[in-house]
């Protein structure tokens, strides 16, 4: 009797879920931590847009976590339809596992990165240590807060931006290595992740300058502590891409390939690019970028490809065990 009841109940439950699927499709977007607010707004916009153009309802769920932790979760079986990350290596990893097509970067415009960001400095109000550019970070007595490149993409980008700033001025790799070595000598604490770094700098009051993503700098400046810190734009910095891709394994299983593509395509629309700009992510659309020129001050940019080949190559040379970053601490 009891068994029968349970079976009937679970059958009913299955029938219900099935009918739910028929009525509206769901999409799961696995994304990185600090993109939460941006995608919340974007999902609302996309749902409305999709309803208008196709007449169908869609529900977008979000899963957030550290970018590479998310990639590992997807590789281990998290049924995300799309991944929206902040480092290309995370999507390369999924491509190497066959979950994402090998030429994912060509499936959408601009290297499949609808938005970018860059690395900026945050200093104490009034800039007491007079930090204007990269060279000021290696001065004696300046304490720099940065994320551990071993544990966070934010830190890898800061490291590469520092290295590239030397190359941009015509320096050699050897000079860049020396510069980065000096910079990390000024680092008293290596933060675990982007938000941890912000907390150490603002709440614990440690360090004179924080190197982090522009989006983090702007949101800190806006919400956290307007008037306590100043944002500093160095003369040059690194373009960091926020790549997106469709997870083939999931969309094949759920039959959501078209929907997933529509979801990522719409990131390039004017509406989505505006939302991105409001969340301090640099839009690709030049007109909208110009419109928000107050937020996105022009900097001389260089890309990972300019000096490091690809992010995957940079990972091998600089951040893997025994790489350049390890040498900063182990070779005296």
């Amino acid at each position: 009797m009891k068994f029968k009841q349970i079976t009937t109940l679970s059958l009913a439950a299955v029938a219900l879920t099935a009918s739910n699927f028929a009525a509206s499709q769901t999409l799961l977007n696995a994304s990185y931590d600090v993109a939460r607010e941006f995608y919340k707004d974007y999902n609302t916009a996309f749902t409305a847009h999709y309803k208008k153009t196709s007449g169908k309802d869609v529900k977008v769920d979000q899963a957030h976590g550290g970018s590479s932790a998310q990639a590992r979760a997807v590789a281990d079986g998290l049924d995300a339809d799309v991944v929206t990350m902040n480092t290309t290596t995370d999507i390369e990893f999924l491509a190497s596992k066959g979950l994402v097509v090998a030429d994912w970067a060509k499936r959408f415009p601009n290297n499949a990165s609808p938005t970018t960001s860059t690395m900026l400095f945050l200093v104490r109000q009034g800039n007491p240590k007079a930090i204007r550019d990269w060279d000021d970070l290696v001065k004696p007595g300046v304490q720099v807060i940065v994320v551990n490149p071993k544990t966070g993409g934010n830190g890898r980008m800061a490291y590469l931006a520092a290295w590239g700033s030397v190359r941009k001025k015509g320096g050699t790799d050897a000079q860049a290595a020396e510069f980065v070595g000096k910079l990390f000598k000024n680092v008293p604490v290596l933060a675990k992740g982007g938000r941890d770094a912000t907390t150490i700098f603002l709440q614990r009051n440690i360090g004179d300058v924080l190197i982090t993503f522009e989006s983090e700098v702007v949101s800190v400046d806006r919400e956290f502590s307007a008037g306590k810190v100043d944002a500093i734009h160095p003369s040059s910095s690194l373009v960091t891409e926020n790549p997106v891709a469709v997870v083939e394994r999931t969309v094949a299983k759920k039959g959501t390939a078209a929907l997933a593509k529509a979801y990522l395509d719409y990131l390039y629309s004017d509406e989505a690019q505006e939302i991105a700009a409001r969340h301090a992510l640099r839009p690709r659309n030049p007109a909208i970028l110009k419109k928000y020129a107050g937020t996105f001050k022009p900097i001389q940019f260089f890309t990972v490809q300019d000096y490091f080949g690809s992010l995957g190559d940079a990972q091998k040379v600089h951040f893997n065990d025994g790489g350049q970053f390890d040498k900063l601490y182990t070779v005296k």
Binding site: T151, K192, D196, R204, I206, D321, L328, Y329, T330
Partner: protein
Amino acid sequence: MTLAFAPAAALVSPDARQRPTRRSPKRVLPGFKLTLGYTVLYLSLIVLIPLSALFFKTFTLSFEQFWAAVSSPRVLASYRLTFGASFLAALVNVVAGLLVAWVLVRYSFPGKKIVDALVDLPFALPTAVAGISLTALLAGNGWVGQYLEPHGIQLAFKPAGVVIALIFIGLPFVVRTVQPVLEDAEKELEEAATCLGATRWQTFTRVIFPSIAPALLTGFAMAFARAIGEYGSVIFIAGNMPMVSEITPLIIIGKLEQYDYAGATAVALVMLVFSFVLLLLINALQAWQRKRSGAPA
């Protein structure tokens, strides 16, 4: 009386004489095979299968790769910090925990129940919360840190901070293992010792301490083992500088960030073997101590 006894004895004695020669001795308590089977199954599901997955993942590495992963300078430095700080923290907790347990068992005072409940808080609190609050407290601008920093004492973001976080999470283990033993200790023995002319110190070292030493060792072992695996609270207070304040669990996370699953499991395996050997040693020490003090094992 004797008549009633005789047949019973006759019934029992041949059986008792046979017992040692039997292959599977009959036990007083029934259900041995069933419960042992269940225990083995349960331990396999919960402990052994996940751990064996760890072993198999490590086997995807050649020995050279394995060795390189577990013996690079950064990893070696992290072992020193993790095991050293855990050992120190457990040692501090043995002394402090004994004191807390002593106070809770031997004296009654208003608010005792609350103090008793406070001891368990480190069990319940999410470790990240503990780490963040300790950091906030001890950082240069924190409640405590602001008085220490002018004297050149910096605890947060230094290895000392790691020890403090580990002391925090390990305290309940010692208190909760020592407390019941102390409660059960026979007061008459202490009274007898006093009557026989022992000083208070002698009573403590000769009578009380031997009876609680095994429990203290257990508490030490548990606090130590817990500290070795601790990640959440330490990570916020450690500073995480390579070669200085990087704990081994962070190295594992770092390897996962590079998608180096095998390397991460290799380091985990080393930690596992280390911890297992240490726990075995402590257990052996405990058995030896019990034997020596004549307490039932």
